[in-house]
């Protein structure tokens, strides 16, 4: 409730700032500065409140119950903030609002600020449409917790960086429309827009690349890019932002390109919102690897998208006559022509990715939904990307001396990235079953699967391999009930490239289950079990916390008594396995009936047996993959460096 009020305050202030900006002609008046800071202050307060709720385990808030738990490590409570849709929108809004406050201090045109605060108001609407502060209808005493996949350092930084990119892209869009609204023919906005676009391109790129590195290193999907709609939806604005950047640069010298720069600014930001719509509205539920579960926020985002695209294009159309006309280029050998042609190729690539990711939506409109496979993207974009690379090399050789140092680094980085994408794909991939401690030769490497190592607390285990004499481990995070939650690959890094091993799920024979009745004897073939007693602990609200059973196990000669327990969680309960008779048996309590008369016990394979089991693994080589990480770093740093002019 308080959170929504704070957001309401942020909205009111943003609307007020917008109204003042549109009403006045003097840029960055004092009132605007103050109101912008007030709006950002409210939004920051709302964000801090969400963090406080997460840290205090306030499960009366739906979002906290859905993405956090009392057992979640503190560090991940920070990133649980943006684990879900509602929180990630709030994060976007927070960054947008802070940038907005900064803008008021930079002699930004009043009309541009007005547009920016209009966008800020729209973002607050989006957050309020599906608020992270919504309260639970039922009483909950423990949260679901953060998905183990997301409990990772890279997950902590990947979304914020992407959202910094998105928020920064609002600035050139606002500057473009602001300039059109006041003096359409003016080119004075270009210099400022160039700085912000460079920063946006660098951050959005960094966000995308970090996502790719995370997928490669942690998720074990075998690669860094899967052409998933969520990935594509950030790639398209990044490609268009590159087009905008070059058109802005060109327009500073050639007034005839001004119209194109305006159009690029509108399309880039519209595609940011469109990507959000596609991945957050739930319409891709059947098609995307990691879109968010269905929600009714789609209409609100669709309206925001229409506002940005139609609003932007309308303003451009109305002012089109006032925009400077003229020749775009004189000859085909000229730098302007090559840059414009390269921009066109980038637009082609962006269009292909856009068509591919929108296919389920587009086909739904005319009939049955359909999707494209990832071959479509690779097949269609490769020839265009190759042509682009050729054009870039030509430009570099011919006009290289006019490019700034940062620009040089970024362009070389881009070319190296294209090369690394092709080279790293030339490796071999083999999937086969590995018997423990048996040497296998794959793609010029000697691979031995050594077995599994379990950690005491049953929260993670490792698959251990030896590759060319070096031991590498693949981490698998486990659910509370001991089943695999997230399986990471084992990677051996070499100068020649990585050896990448992704273990697959062990084919465990069917787990035996015993239903025990109080006081009665039951056998699992080797051991006998008697369910002696059980009790349930309640908290002060009379809600069950945990259930404990007492079970006697016998091998015919000696007896052992165990006290397994189930801890109650919102989605049922979790329990750990217990070893008896020195590890000869491993059992897990999975249920106790309400009248405490029956207990369900799982008979699990022993750790020893698990470790000796063969494991199917996919082994692949990734030649010179480090070149990819190096080149994308060069792209981002070079772009940042280019903000300062040399």
């Amino acid at each position: 409730m308080t959170g929504n009020l704070l957001l309401g305050g942020g909205l009111t202030a943003a609307l007020a700032a917008m109204a003042i900006c549109f009403a006045q002609k003097i840029p960055s008046a004092r009132a605007v500065k103050i109101i912008a800071i007030v709006s950002a202050g409210f939004i920051t307060a709302a964000s801090l409140l969400l963090w406080i709720l997460l840290f205090e385990n306030d499960f009366s808030v739906e979002y906290v119950a859905a993405y956090s738990s009392t057992t979640l490590p503190t560090i991940y409570k920070i990133s649980a903030f943006w684990a879900g849709q509602q929180g990630s929108f709030l994060l976007w809004l927070l960054i947008h609002a802070i940038i907005g406050a900064v803008l008021t201090f930079r002699r930004t045109q009043a009309a541009a600020l007005g547009i920016y605060f209009l966008l800020q108001s729209v973002l607050v609407f989006l957050v309020l449409a599906k608020s992270p502060f919504a309260e639970h209808s039922a009483q909950v005493f423990e949260g679901v917790g953060l998905n183990p996949l997301l409990q990772d350092f890279w997950m902590a930084i990947h979304p914020p960086i992407i959202f910094v990119g998105y928020a920064l892209l609002a600035v050139p869009f606002a500057l473009s429309l602001g300039s059109l609204l006041t003096e359409a023919a003016s080119r004075s906005w270009l210099e400022e827009a160039r700085h912000w676009t460079l920063a946006a391109w660098s951050f959005l790129g960094a966000g995308i690349f970090i996502g790719g590195y995370w997928a490669y290193k942690v998720l074990g999907w075998g690669g860094y890019w899967g052409w998933d709609p969520v990935e594509n939806s950030s790639l398209v604005p990044w490609l268009l932002a590159a087009v905008m950047l070059h058109l802005i640069n060109l327009a500073r010298k050639k007034s005839a390109v001004l119209a194109q720069a305006h159009v690029a600014a509108t399309f880039t930001y519209a595609l940011v919102i469109y990507g959000t719509f596609l991945t957050r509205s739930g319409i891709l539920g059947d098609f995307s690897v990691h879109s968010f579960a269905g929600s009714n926020i789609g209409t609100v985002i669709a309206l925001a998208n229409a506002l940005v695209l139609i609003g932007g294009l309308m303003i451009i159309l109305v002012k089109a006559k006032q925009l400077p006309q003229g020749e775009l280029y004189k000859s085909y050998g000229e730098a302007s022509f090559i840059i414009l042609l390269s921009c066109l190729l980038l637009i082609f690539i962006a269009t292909i990715v856009w068509i591919g990711m929108s296919m389920p939506l587009l086909t739904q409109l005319v009939g049955e939904a359909a999707a494209v496979d990832s071959d479509f993207y690779i097949k269609s974009t490769s020839p265009i990307a190759l042509t682009l690379a050729a054009l870039m090399i030509y430009t570099f050789v011919k006009f290289g001396r006019t490019i700034s140092l940062g620009g040089k680094i970024a362009h070389v980085g881009f070319l190296a990235m294209l090369a690394a994408i092709v080279i790293s794909a030339q490796g071999e991939t083999v999937t086969q079953e590995f018997q423990p401690r048996t040497k296998v030769s794959i793609a010029g490497h000697e691979v031995i699967y050594e077995g599994q190592v379990f950690q005491e607390d049953e929260r993670q285990k490792f698959y251990v391999y030896t590759v060319d004499g070096e031991a590498i481990r693949a981490l698998t995070k486990l659910h509370g009930n001991g089943t695999d939650a997230a399986r990471e690959p084992a990677i051996l890094k070499n100068f020649g490239g990585d050896v990448y091993i992704a273990p697959h799920a062990a084919q465990i024979d069917s787990v035996q289950e015993l239903m025990l009745t109080k006081g009665l004897f039951a056998m699992d073939g080797e051991f006998g079990y008697v369910f002696e007693d059980a009790h349930i602990d309640y908290d002060e609200h009379n809600q069950p916390i945990q259930a404990t059973a007492a079970i006697t196990i016998t091998d015919g000669e000696t007896e052992e008594v165990i006290h397994p327990l189930i801890i109650v969680t919102p989605d049922g309960g979790t329990s750990k396995s217990l070893e008896v008779f020195g590890g000869k048996r491993r059992v897990r309590l999975t249920g106790i009936s309400g009248d405490l008369d029956k207990a369900r016990l799982e008979i699990l394979p022993t750790y020893e047996k698990l470790s000796a089991m063969p494991i199917t693994s996919t082994v692949s080589t990734k030649p010179f993959i480090w070149l990819l990480w190096l080149s994308v770093t060069a792209i981002c740093l070079g772009t940042l460096l280019a903000i300062r002019k040399f």
Binding site: N147, L149, L150, W221, G222, G223, G226, D228, D286, S288, V289, H290, F292, A293, L328, L344, F348, T351, I352, I355, G356, M359, T363, E368, A369, A370, A371, V372, D373, S374, D375, F376, K379, S380, T431, Q432, D484, A485, R487, H504, A505, Q507, D571, T616, T618
Partner: protein, 124 residues
């Protein structure tokens, strides 16, 4: 002259992209439609519990059940049994049906789990 250059380029791109698209689109169809189709499709269904899923070397076999019609179809996936296959509540098989062996040859399986995020991992 310059306009012509641009038009040629644009038309070329549209033809090129359209051609690639027509080749790559895999429509979502029912089991009956998949049987009738000779091109790549996506079929969504449940696991047919009457047929035990089986990993056979590099191939994974199972039977897909159409929720609405109750029709079943053998599926041969060119790969390893995906994670969380056993917890799947929906399976989407991407591939092509071959009449010769009355089997759907899947190059990709998408597993839909009831829990958020998890298991919707593409198996390339």
């Amino acid at each position: 002259m310059r306009k012509i250059f641009l038009i040629v380029l644009l038309v070329g791109f549209v033809v090129y992209a359209g051609f690639n698209l027509a080749e790559s689109v895999t429509p979502y169809v029912s089991i009956a439609e998949a049987r009738a189709s000779s091109s790549g499709v996506q079929v969504k269904g449940l696991l047919d519990k009457n047929f035990a899923p089986m990993q056979d070397g590099d191939e994974f076999n199972f039977s897909l059940l159409d929720e609405t019609t109750g029709e079943t179809m053998r599926v041969k996936f060119d790969g390893i049994k995906p994670d969380q296959f056993d917890q799947a509540y929906h399976i989407v098989a991407v591939g092509k049906y071959t009449a010769a062996d009355e089997t759907f040859h899947a190059k990709k399986l998408l597993i839909k789990c009831p829990s958020k995020y998890e298991g919707q991992k593409p198996q390339a």
